[in-house]
């Protein structure tokens, strides 16, 4: 279990982490979300004892990281910044790490096998592709068979195969009862990986909830529906309490034989399907829109983006109703709006 209590970190006059508190539980993947510069990496570095907090604390199973007797056997970390000498072989990198923990060298070979780097174990790490480097990072993190894992933006820049590999790995490790904290600035990535999500912006906590809840609390899920009979379906949805609008590309004038598309909010995809079936309306497409996840994220972080007010303003314009009442940033925002 990772506990962060009232953590604050200042770099000169810049406040990177601002009285942040949260707990990461074992047995599930916890996503750590925030825009670039929100303080995710700094928080992780403090948890790992690399940065010193200005105030507050971060503990691993109740102890500061620095007090762990053989830290790599308790905590594994994959940092975003590289931490491998480009002239050293993968095997020697893992070997020196194993030696610091009193782990046998057979453990190094076992890890190389597991991440599929055995054939290139004696090649200089500088020659590795990004995907191979990430595998080496995973091997280093798993070297001591730790119960707690911290992964900082692990899928950044990876190809789809690599992304899938990391995703499945994280889920698997969590299912084994390990604590997995993974940071990302991509909401959609977290939506498919994380069971629980912690959102921060400008170093402050914006949300700490189950993934479904964060999504549900967002601007409301939307569903895209294509049907040759949009008028009838709109009636049905409106009668059911939802809202349907004809989308721009659903306009018949530019639709080359394609059925018009409706954007439905307030009615889940399953209900739209049922309504259509009950009235024998033909559907050509029924797609829950993942874009609303990004919206939920943008909404949460609208005030905390690092880059000026432009994005903040545009996000506010897009922002649909119902902010998160529990979030301070959101409440102040509400009064401005």
């Amino acid at each position: 279990m990772i506990e962060v209590r009232d953590l604050t970190k200042k770099f000169g006059s810049t406040l990177a982490v601002d009285h942040l508190s949260f707990t990461v539980q074992p047995g599930r993947v916890t996503g750590f979300l925030g825009p670039n510069g929100a303080g995710k990496s700094t928080t992780m570095r403090i948890i790992l004892g690399l940065d010193h907090p200005t105030s507050g604390s971060a503990t691993i199973n109740g102890n500061p990281y620095a007090d762990l007797p053989a830290p790599l056997r308790t905590v594994g970390a994959l940092l975003e910044a590289k931490s491998v000498h480009s002239g050293r072989s993968a095997r020697n990198h893992l070997l020196f790490l194993a030696q610091t923990q009193g782990l046998p060298s057979s453990r190094v070979d076992a890890m190389l096998d597991l991440v599929g780097l055995r054939p290139v174990a004696n090649k200089r790490a500088g020659t590795f592709s990004l995907g191979m480097s990430q595998r080496l990072g995973v091997a280093a993190a798993m070297l001591g068979d730790p119960q707690i894992l911290l992964l900082d933006e692990p899928v950044n820049g990876l190809d789809p195969e690599g992304v899938l590999w990391i995703r499945n790995l994280m889920k698997h490790l969590a299912s084994e009862g390990r604590t997995v904290l993974v940071s990302s600035h991509l909401m959609n990535e977290m939506a498919v990986t994380a069971d629980h999500i912690i959102v921060i912006g400008r170093g402050r906590l914006l949300a700490d909830a189950a993934t479904e809840d964060v999504i549900a609390r967002g601007s409301g899920q939307s569903v895209r529906v294509r049907t040759p009979d949009p008028e009838r379906l709109t009636e049905l949805i409106t009668a059911d309490g939802g809202r349907a609008v004809l989308t721009a590309n659903g306009d018949n004038s530019n639709g080359a034989g394609q059925a018009p598309a409706l954007l439905v909010t307030g009615t889940p995809a399953s209900r739209v399907g049922e309504l259509a079936a009950s009235a024998s309306v033909v559907l050509h497409e029924l797609t829950p829109q993942l874009a609303s996840l990004e919206d939920a994220f943008l909404e949460l972080t609208a005030d905390s983006l690092e880059f000026g007010h432009l994005e903040s303003a545009s996000a506010r314009l897009q922002a649909a109703p119902a902010g998160l009442p529990s979030e301070p940033a959101q409440t102040t925002d509400g009064s401005i709006r």
Partner: protein
């Protein structure tokens, strides 16, 4: 790179069947780091080749000059204190490779980011620096002593026609062993500066600047009484006295005093490096 292995195999008995990690394990890890990069092999190869080749060359040229009656000042140095001449000519340049390697041993941790992996493994931090110092100093001590003795015997053979030197003459063994000790402390001196500056180019330039430039410039102060003290208390100048048989005319410190001063400076810089390692964000 297709991996089908079940990640559950990450868990293993191997990881649990382990002894408690101690300082010995850390030294082993630092040894793995040092031996597994090319800069170590290259720097040490350059040190050995440059030192031995230049020792031979300078001695041979000077003996030749002496026999043909040229370069009276240099030949006078050889005749006056042949052992010092042998130990300080080739090594004077060869030592720069040790300076570079010492600085790099610490700075590459930062430039490559390995420092993060090192500190994640050893979050107390200071044991990393201590183990690195012990392992690196031991390596340089062994190689430094070998090179000192080989240099001495090469020089002895070359200068034999004009002057006779041997280990049995007074203070000669001390000077030859001392040359290896000087190199050992120099390697830690460079490592300490690397731990303070953390950037390869800056650290290397600083070490070489101190050893070659500042040490030489301080010679200009020798007409003042206080200037001789400043000169003698300068780390590498003080340290080099252990390789002299006959003290320089204006030398204030004895060989062992000078060596102690060099050790003191190095310990001071290492302490500062340790303090910053503990304090700074990595």
């Amino acid at each position: 790179m297709s991996t089908t292995a079940a990640p559950s195999q990450f868990a293993s008995v191997q990881a649990r069947q382990t002894e408690r990690a101690g300082f010995g394990h850390l030294m082993l890890a630092e040894w793995t780091k040092i031996r597994s990069v090319r800069s170590t092999v290259w720097s040490l190869a350059i040190f050995v080749v440059v030192t031995l080749a230049l020792t031979w060359l300078f001695c041979w040229l000077t003996v030749h000059a002496l026999q043909t009656g040229r370069a009276p000042r240099r030949t006078a140095e050889l005749v006056a204190d042949p052992v010092t001449f042998i130990l300080q000519t080739g090594m004077g340049l060869g030592q720069l490779a040790i300076c570079v390697l010492g600085a790099l041993t610490m700075t590459t941790e930062y430039s490559t980011g390995v420092i993060r992996a090192s500190l994640l493994a050893v979050p107390k931090r200071l044991p990393v620096l201590a183990a690195k110092c012990v392992v690196f100093a031991a390596l340089i001590f062994v190689i430094g002593e070998i090179v000192s003795f080989v240099s001495f015997f090469i020089g002895k053979a070359v200068v034999h026609p004009v002057v006779d030197v041997s280990l049995s003459q007074p203070n000669v063994t001390r000077a030859v062993i001392g040359a290896g000790l000087y190199l050992t402390v120099l390697s830690l001196f460079a490592l300490a500066i690397g731990s303070l500056i953390r950037h390869s180019a800056g650290a290397i330039a600083t070490v070489i600047g101190l050893v070659l430039v500042v040490g030489g410039l301080l010679n200009l102060l020798d007409s003042y009484d206080w200037g001789r003290h400043v000169h003698d208390w300068f780390p590498t100048v003080a340290g080099s006295y252990i390789t002299r048989i006959i003290p320089a005319s204006d030398q204030v410190l004895s060989p062992w005093q000078g060596f102690a001063v060099f050790c003191g400076w190095t310990a001071l810089l290492l302490a500062a490096g340790a303090y910053l390692l503990k304090r700074r964000d990595a």
